[in-house]
């Protein structure tokens, strides 16, 4: 039986919890099964044996970006409706894992989220109230978030087996390749303004010009050697309060 609109709505809303039972054996697989259940119950209504087999297939190991898992949920549901043989479904699942992870990670985690966070942080540093900055971040980010989830689910259901081909060069991937300069620009701007606010707040003045020069060199070195630069940044973060307290003790 073909799933109803309400089944699709329930399945889509369940994709928000697709990582709820993430584990090292099936990864997001059990979450995929959880989200697909409204579809599978309708497709295999009155046939508990085939329902059980379909749920077991759905629970297999799977991974991907959580927002784009909506695409996998819908596409796998479509394959079940079209009575595609289980071996093809398994191959399809395996083939889909890589692209869903890579595309989503690069576009959402790599670009969209940092950009929204940085815009909100900058608005706060430029004088907006904390409440307003939080609203800006959540509203901006979730417009994109919901758009991706809706697009992913609709594309998955319509395309079925063809979804992998559609994902290659999709708008989300092209968009990620275009927007990254804004991300880096904002990172540089926010870091400098935030550093200025920190220095302004402290009662000590650590030679702003020298600090600016060292900060620029440090930032560029960390850009070239991100792992080492990141580790050093963490060490400095831990050292800072220790130095402060030590200074207070020894005078």
């Amino acid at each position: 039986m073909r799933p109803l609109r309400s089944d699709h709505l329930t399945a889509w809303s369940r994709t928000f919890a697709v990582q709820g039972s993430w584990n090292y054996t099936t990864m997001v697989g059990t979450g995929i099964a959880y989200a697909m259940l409204p579809l599978l119950r309708r497709i295999y209504a009155g046939d508990p044996v085939r329902l059980r087999e379909a749920v077991e297939r759905a629970m297999g190991p799977f991974n991907g970006h959580p927002y784009l898992c909506a695409m996998a949920v819908a596409a796998l549901g479509r394959l079940e409706l079209d009575e595609v043989d289980p071996q093809t479904i398994e191959k399809f699942r395996t083939a889909l894992r890589g692209p869903l992870g890579t595309v989503g990670d690069r576009a959402v985690w790599g670009q969209w989220r940092p950009i929204c966070v940085l815009i909100a942080t900058l608005s706060f540093l430029l004088g907006a109230s904390p409440g307003w900055s939080v609203v800006v971040f959540l509203a901006l980010y979730n417009v994109g978030h919901l758009a991706v989830r809706v697009w992913a689910y609709a594309t998955g259901w319509q395309a079925g087996l063809e979804v992998g081909r559609l994902l290659k060069g999709a708008w989300i991937e092209r968009w990620a390749e275009k927007i990254w300069p804004l991300n880096i620009l904002l990172t540089g701007a926010v870091a400098l303004v935030l550093a200025d606010v920190v220095v302004e707040q402290s009662a000590v003045s650590p030679a702003p010009a020298a600090l600016l020069g060292m900060g620029l060199v440090g930032g560029l070195l960390a850009f070239r050697f991100p792992r080492q630069g990141g580790r050093l940044a963490t060490v400095l973060l831990v050292i800072a309060p220790l130095l402060w307290v030590l200074g207070g003790v020894v005078g």
């Binding site: 099964a33 959580p66 430029l126 409440g131 620009l185 990172t187 940044a233």
Partner: protein
């Protein structure tokens, strides 16, 4: 600030613990609307203790540090929801002005974020038990749904426990530091944080760049930031 001025009554503590549960769930389990980002969670923590501006300042620094840990693939990243709340609340409780308290709050938030990561891994191992045996769950979809929801609630419980365990000690420790005045070494402490921010920004920029060709943009961004500062817009 005296101890009597510190406002952390049972009501605030309960609200913070409930908030920690929600923030703990949001990052991975449900609904991933990103209230778990430190910019939001630290502001919530600050707001709970009466100073959202202080919370957001801590959140901004934690955010710049967290940005260089995108959750790509199997990468480990700090669990900044409950940690941000504790850090923001701690600095707000200290009055939101003392630099020593600020530095310590940020460091506590970062450390607690990584403790949170360990608890996430423990929960994932626990999920393996909850979601098995697969055959039994496949035969009873209602049981599958129930177990999945239990796993989500456990994530919330994890976040709540983190806040419950660390909020009061963190607030007390940070408040103790408030009395520590500026010193010669304090200058180096501020410099260390600023250089740490620069290093974090560089590493974060690299993680979002396609290749290494983006470094001039980081400089241009810093230049824009400098213009904003010199223009008195901050």
């Amino acid at each position: 600030m005296s101890w009597s001025e510190l406002y952390l009554g049972p009501g605030t503590w309960i609200l913070a613990v409930l908030g920690g549960g929600l923030l703990g769930m949001d990052a991975v389990s449900w609904p991933q609307v990103m209230v778990s980002r430190p910019l939001v969670s630290a502001t919530v923590g600050g707001w709970l203790l009466g100073n959202p501006v202080a919370g957001m300042l801590v959140g901004g620094v934690l955010e710049l540090y967290a940005l260089r840990h995108p959750p790509f693939g199997a990468a480990k990243y700090p669990d900044t929801g409950p940690a941000g709340l504790v850090a923001g609340a701690s600095f707000a409780a200290s009055g939101g002005a003392a630099m020593g308290a600020f530095l310590l709050s940020v460091a506590i938030g970062w450390g607690l974020g990584w403790i949170g990561t360990v608890t996430v891994q423990i929960r994932r191992r626990l999920n393996e038990r909850i979601m098995s045996p697969a055959r039994e769950l496949a035969a009873d979809p209602v049981l599958l749904e129930q177990r999945h929801r239990v796993a989500i609630w456990l994530d919330g419980l994890r976040g709540a426990i983190l806040v419950a365990a660390f909020l009061v000690p963190s607030v007390l420790v940070v408040t103790l530091v408030v009395g520590t005045g500026p010193s010669t070494l304090g200058r180096y402490a501020v410099a260390a944080l600023v250089l740490g921010l620069a290093g974090s920004a560089g590493a974060a920029g690299r993680s979002s760049a396609f290749g290494v060709r983006g470094w001039p943009l980081l400089l241009v961004g810093a230049g824009l930031g400098l213009l904003l500062v010199l223009g008195g817009l901050t």
